[in-house]
Amino acid sequence: MDYDVLVVGSGIGGMESALKLGDMGYKVLVVEKEASVGGRMILLSKVFPTLDCASCISTPKMAATIHHPNLTVMTYSEVKGITRDADGHFHANVKRKARYVDEVACTGCQQCETACTVAVPDQFNADLVARRAAYIAFPQAVPKKAVIERQGSSPCTFACPAGIEAHGYVSLIRSGEYEKAHRLVLDATPLVGTLGRACYAPCESECTRGSLEGTLPIRRLKRFISDHHVESGAGLGIEVAAPNGRRVAVVGSGPAGLTAAWQLARKGYAVKIYEAAPEPGGFLRLAIPSYRLPVEVVERDIQNVRDLGVEIVTNTPVRDLAALKSEGYDAVLVATGTPRSTGLGVPGEDRLGVLAATDFLRRVKLGETVDLTGKRVVVVGGGNVAMDASRVARRLGATSVTVAYRRSRAEMPAHHVEADDAEKEGVQFAFQVAPVEVTGDAAGAVNGLRCVRMALGEPDASGRRSPTPIKGSEHVLPCDVIIAAIGMTPDTAAFASQIGVERRGTLRADPKTLQTDVPYIFAAGDVVNGATDITRAVGEGRRAAHMIDRWLTGGILDGFDLRLPVVDKEQVLARQKTYTLRPATPEAVTLVAEPRDFREVEAPLSETEARAAAGRCMDCAVCSGCHECVNVCPVENCIDLYARDTELDVEVGAVVVSTGYKLFAADLKPQYGFGKYRNVITGMQMDRLLAPTRPFNTVLRPSDGKVPERIAYILCTGSRDETVGNPLCSKFCCMYSIKQNQLIMGALPLAEVTVHYMDIRAAGKRYDEFYEQSKSMGATYVKGRVAKITEKENGNLILRYEDIENGGQLVDAEYDLVVLAVGVQPNRDAQRLFPQEELAEDQYFYVAEPDEDLNPGVTSIPGVFVAGAASGAKDIVDSILHAGAAAAQVAAHLERTQAKTKVPA
């Protein structure tokens, strides 16, 4: 037996039962779903009829609960299920939800909360004000420890192969923290400006906002922070470890190599990049056209790497990897990409005028003169390189550019935006044609491409329909230049004798560790996977750096991908019933039919546009992953944003269900306008407005912040009301309303308070006197149900009611603020605690006490007891009494069955 008793819920009833049992010597486990014990009572202003401060009398009990030597309290935890064995013992499965904050180390300083960039409604203030995703439940929370509401990975972040915290930098931009947003991207890669322009943005494809008016322009937001950083002249501002004395050679300076070098340098490694080309950057510098990715942007990103001390040598191809080891490198990373174009493989491909796409693009990017003026160009292929080559050909003066692709447009591997843009720039497409011969003139120059038409069959392994030639369909596309863009391959022949090389030329490396057959040699990016895209290469570079560091420090090669599971977009959308559509950020690409220069075609976002776009973010995972909490936390390693929920199983001798009640959802009485009229609030909201830790500076009406002068109460909202299925009296609504009347008249001496009631139920010691005191203070009590509420333009509210005590006439009365004294309803969550046997409910769905007259607290399941309002509406006094009775019942049960950890002293 782990504990004598499990108490589920730590409201006043749960705490009282637990404390009494603990005082008797029983070992008690208290499980509370919120981050603090205390339930609802701690959130109240004062208690009736004594008007004692609720905080003042709650907090000692909360502290006693936490510190009692016989009590173990698990906050932010949930009991998932309880089963009973043949011996009558209970086995409970408890989920400890990840707090993402070390509960022991946290000092409760609230710096994480202040720095947090995500605002959400504060449930502890009845949604009257915002809290942050990182928060301490309320000022008197016990334990006073922060928790981060983090529901997983946001879809944008989860979708990024580069591992960039997309939601994080969007939320930082929303907060105006542009440099911090830039640093957050730098935490993943130095290529901020590059990715802000040339990434295909898988994040945007997953953006939940896409289900509404349109996705956020996440890529362009990244460009915005990159441009802003450059304009600001700020330093990189990232942490770099002290040199660790180890050296790593990186072969290749594309996105994978640059990112790996960046990450290794940040960890203190001395890194040198060997690049075969005359300029570093791989495809970024030597292939992607400048109208998409200006050279200066790539060079700026590469300078980030150099700024960390990484040495880059160009014109230095590496063929002997072992030699690098001999030179003193502790590890080698091969990230040489796929620099070679696949040949056409048809007769005549060696004719003058047949170009490989990668060579063609490279020559242009290196500034060589390539004049296509007056030429007819055919580009063979359907990928992004084909689109780049075709658009570059247009800029070099080609009179016509035709992309010849063997499948249909729908099957083109090129990003659809690239194909669309190419078309807008005058590129033509010939679909379902395949080259069979390059034709030429007597001088050997190209004069056409003989093609065959293709029929599309069943989908192949890639999911695309297989093309097959149509007999007799040969024809010639007249042209002067043919650019082959049908694929790219690695250049790895030199490594074949040193490490494993696959048949198609890619290097063999473990897909998780990226380690090759030779332990000190790692390989990453397109040289391993074949041609992919920038973000995947960046992600591989990050992974390689992580694994190399692990290997060199003697660690296990794991632990790279720490992402939490992605949140369900449908659940995100379900958080709101309605959405206001905002203008989607307009596209800013300017295309002309005859482009003649390489100026960037996409305009940047202005600051206003960026801020507005970021403001549309829906905070899918709630926590954005901006890491500001981590950055400001004064306790090292206190916050772990990648923590996971944990579960534990405990065996106990008895269970106390003290799951409390639920408040009636006031919008279920639509005639009162809650949720429609801002100045209609609930009793719980008014209690918060009157509490010392109130959300406003005083009682103000929510529509405009005015101090209300005429306040009305409507009692029995959702109780004693068959129309909402709740015929029961909630017992304490009259009394809390009377309490609030007195507090309002104290806080706002000029305010008039009117209570619309059916009959006042003030049955309790000094309750009626309390009611009379309220009347004597000036509160007016009007008998009669309110029929409806309407709103005036100024936010005032018109109540129509039948004035029973004055002839039953219909009266319209105007107020500044209306308080709905909502009743309570059963919390049926208790039913889910026992999956194998039924915890009986009474006819009103509260936990049943079959023999409540003589045995309060005893439920239908032997050994399971109920304390407080879980068995029916009770005020605080009655809850405490009931909880004490339940504790006595538990003790009797344990003594009778001897199902306990030890005999009490």
């Binding site: 960039t117 995500v118 206001t580 529509s703 405009d704 005015k706």
Partner: protein, 84 residues
């Protein structure tokens, strides 16, 4: 009767960080009431109240001691540094 449609609280509160600089800019000229801030930034008063109280909670603004004759408190920035 008002025909104004109010937005969901979660949506309004989510926009609070975007509104910080606009509200602080409006307060440069001196303390303002919620309706005055609303007029300055062109947003509904009920939404401005959420933002103002969120900013007050985290120390960016505070109320001036006494309300106006109309029953509105005025709010001022706790410092005059307006972030980007």
């Amino acid at each position: 009767m008002s025909t104004t449609t109010i937005r969901e609280i979660r949506e309004i509160i989510r926009e609070e960080p975007v509104m910080h600089p606009r509200i602080l800019e409006a307060l440069r000229s001196g303390p303002l009431t919620v309706p005055e801030i609303a007029q300055a930034i062109g947003s509904p008063t009920d939404e401005v109240l959420f933002w103002v109280m969120g900013m007050r909670r985290y120390g960016k603004i505070r109320e001036v001691k006494d309300p106006t004759d109309d029953g509105y408190f005025r709010y001022e920035a706790t410092n005059w540094e307006v972030p980007a």
